[in-house]
Each structure stands twice: as C-alpha cells, then as structure tokens.
Symmetry: C2
Subunit: 217 residues, 2 copies
DNA sequence: CGCTGGATTGAGTCCGGTCAAGCCTTGTGG
DNA sequence: CCACAAGGCTTGACCGGACTCAATCCAGCG
C-alpha cells in the first residue's frame, strides 16, 4: 500500500465516541484493494463500517451502466449504517483502504442502551443533509459551479494546505453528474484563472478562497 | 376552494398511527392559500405538519433565484419533521391546502415514550430514501427520463385512473432540474407517442405502463 | 526505455436552455 | 352572455454548454 492517502484518522467522527471505542475494541480491520467492493446494493445491512485509511464511495448503477456516486467517506467516518434493512447503495474502496467492520448485534450487546441507535440516528441525519445539499448541486448548478463546490468541500477543513484528492476524474464526474472531459476542462479553467493550483492531478491548493466560494454559491 | 385537488386522506400515512391520532386530537388545522409559506428555511423546527388536503412543496433558493424543489407532500404525509433544530428547506402550499399543525413538545407529553421519536425516525428514513432516488434522477437521467420518472411516481398508486397533478409546470421543472419549456416538450412528446394521455394539462392517464416504466428506468 | 492507464485537449454534435410569439383556460366585469 | 384581461402552457427558432469521439499527453512502473 502506498502512503499517498493514509491520512489516518485526521478527520475523526465528531459524535458517538463510545461507539467508535466499541468498534476499536471489538471490530475487525479489513483491507480493500482499489475498486474492491465493501458491500453490495440490496444486500442486508447487518454490519457497520468505519473508514480507517483510504476512501470509500457509495454508488448506484443503472442497467445501461450510468453511475451515480452518493457520497465519499474519508477516514474516521461511519458508513453503511442504513436506516432500513437493506443497503441502498453499494460501497467500494476507491483506492487501497482499510475499513473497520463490526456486526451491529455485537455493538448492541456491548453498548449502553440507545448508544447504537443514537449513532445510527446521527449518521442518518448527516447523510440526509449531505444528500439534500447534493440535490441542489445536481439540479441547478452549472458544470463550473459543481466542480467548484466539490473542491470547496474537499478543501473545507484543510486550511491553506495542499489537499489530496484520492478519487479519479471518473469518480468526480459520477458524483457531480458530469463527464470526465467536462470535469477536466473545468479544472484547467479554474487553474488558469489562478483560483486553484494543481501540484499534480490529485493534489491541489486553493489560491482564491473568496472567488471559489462565490463560484460554489 | 375548488374541488379539483381535494383527494382528502386518500393516501394515509402508513406508520405511526398513534402519532396521527394525537395530531387529530390536539393539532390545529390551518388553511394556506396557493404559494403561501408554511415555514421558512433556517427557521427553528419546533412544529410538525401533516397535509390534510392540497399539496405542499419544500424548496431551497439560490441567491440568483434558481430554485430546487426537495419534495412534494400529498394528503396524509408528514413533513417539516427535520432531524436537526432548523428547517433546511422552506415549505409552501402549491395550491390552496389545509395542513394540520402541532407543537412537538405537546406531542411528546401526550404520547407513549418514544412514539414521537419513532415517527421522526420513520419520516427521516423515508426522506433519505426519496432524496437518494432523486439524486439518480438529477445526476444521470435525460430530460425525457426525468419527466417519465415523475409521471410514473405520481401514477404509482393510482391504478389506471386519471391522475391529478396539483403542481404547475414550473414546480415540475424545479423538481426535475429542467426548464418549463423542456418539461412541456417532453410531456407533449410522451403524449404523441401515446404513452400517456392528457385530459387537461393537470390531469393524465397512463396508456403504456411498460414503456413508461422502461423510460423511467 | 517502452507500456499502460489516467488525464488533457480538440473538433464537432446535440440536448436542453433562452427568447419570443401564440394559444388556451379561467375569471371578471360590462 | 360576451369581451377582455391575465396567467399558465405550448410551440418555434436559435443558441450554447456539456457530451461524444478521438487524438495526444503524461506519470508511474516494470
């Protein structure tokens, strides 16, 4: 495994510390290769997951191959905590990743009454908020605004540091409802306007926060 | 009020019957005119709402006026039951409507422990599922597929009956991430292919379920 | 050093947006 | 009952942003 994207636990889960602790004690760490599936759509959701290193994406596929990415999960974030009994998206590692896995029933027996429920609740709530923000992006924003929003979001809590982008152009495109070519064009456009600067095609730095913020609207 | 859209309680809320009962006993019925606001975005969410007649939409606005509709709520459905402390969308009646309103704190004191929580949970869960389906529509479907999905959804539980569409073209457009003109064109296209038939511009009947379903993908 | 897969760039097309005209329904007032 | 106005819907002509297809570039790696 390369060191490139192993920013271990740099963004810890803000809530449910006791759950995370229980997962640490009782959970199993599993390694996933790039593009390896963590779970499948319509599979029963009896496990829960937490990203340790790398990054995970949730995707949904149409019969003709069109793909929509629901969300990206960075180290520290919980995922696969569906409200219903089934997974509504499939989940895949988008680069070599390690994920902590634990059976829900085990968590339940080892946690104070309601702790698991609270964690699921917090996660679902955040999930809904993210989906609602995503709707605005997909429904009403231009290609340039979508890409700007995306970079903004990635850079959010990175200070003025260089930000790593574990996902490739295709993943960005499928997240933003665009094509790779359009994503690429918008990125070069943002770069030539000196709004962001790319060290490599997976690493950038924001140069004009105000402009980027205004573009992301 | 015209009789056009008064399909009172034809689609009852499937879960949380005790909550609905409590709302019936303790809630207040309020009438809203077309386009009247039920609650505003970023307003504290201390009330909960249930559509009695008419229809309600939740919307989010961008600074330049672009609008995204989050969801439509038919009679019987609960809305405004946000997970967080604030409303993340504003809600408006899209035609003359009556809405049952009740303060959350009152519900809590009159219901068995956990009943309110369960209702909020069920609603949030359904909300998330709807948002996730919506993402696929906005991210990866063509104009024709979006409109087909929309009609499909409306007609879902209407049998082969004529289906009423309380919302205007602008509302459809803002829900589907399109313009009124495109929506209109797709509707005439679907009609001239004999897939659906419009009695008036707000009332239709599905003629070829299989084709519509395939289009909606 | 060449191979490979991802990223960029270019040329051309097309879907959906824009602008503008016309139509139809509904409601109002003479 | 008709005339007219107003708003919503449809239709047409045109435009442009994003897609498609294809060539090229580039970094990582054997």
């Amino acid at each position: 495994m390369t060191l490139a994207y192993s920013f271990e636990d740099s963004r810890p889960e803000p809530r449910s510390p006791s759950l995370v602790e229980a997962m640490d004690r009782l959970g199993v760490r599993m390694a996933f290769a790039k593009d390896e599936e963590v779970y499948a759509q319509d599979e029963p959701a009896e496990l829960m997951y937490r990203v340790i290193s790398g990054m995970v994406r949730t995707t949904r596929l149409m019969s003709d191959g069109r793909r929509q990415i629901g969300e990206f999960y960075a180290p520290g974030q919980l995922f696969g905590l569906e409200a219903g009994p089934m997974h509504r998206y499939s989940a895949e590692a988008l680069c070599a990743s390690t994920v902590q896995v634990i059976r829900r029933s085990i968590v339940r027996t080892h946690l104070a009454e309601g702790d698991l429920e609270r964690a699921i609740w917090d996660t679902t709530q955040r999930e809904l908020e993210r989906a609602q923000d995503h709707l605005m992006v997909l429904g009403r924003k231009t290609a340039c605004e979508r890409v700007a929003s995306f970079l903004m979001h990635l850079a959010q809590d990175g200070g003025s540091e260089a930000v790593d982008m574990p996902m490739g152009r295709q993943d960005m495109a499928d997240y933003l409802g665009l094509t790779i070519e359009t994503v690429s064009r918008m990125l070069t456009q943002l770069q030539s306007s000196k709004i962001v600067e790319f060290a490599s095609c997976r690493k950038f730095r924001v140069q004009k926060w105000d402009v980027l913020e205004r573009l992301a609207a």
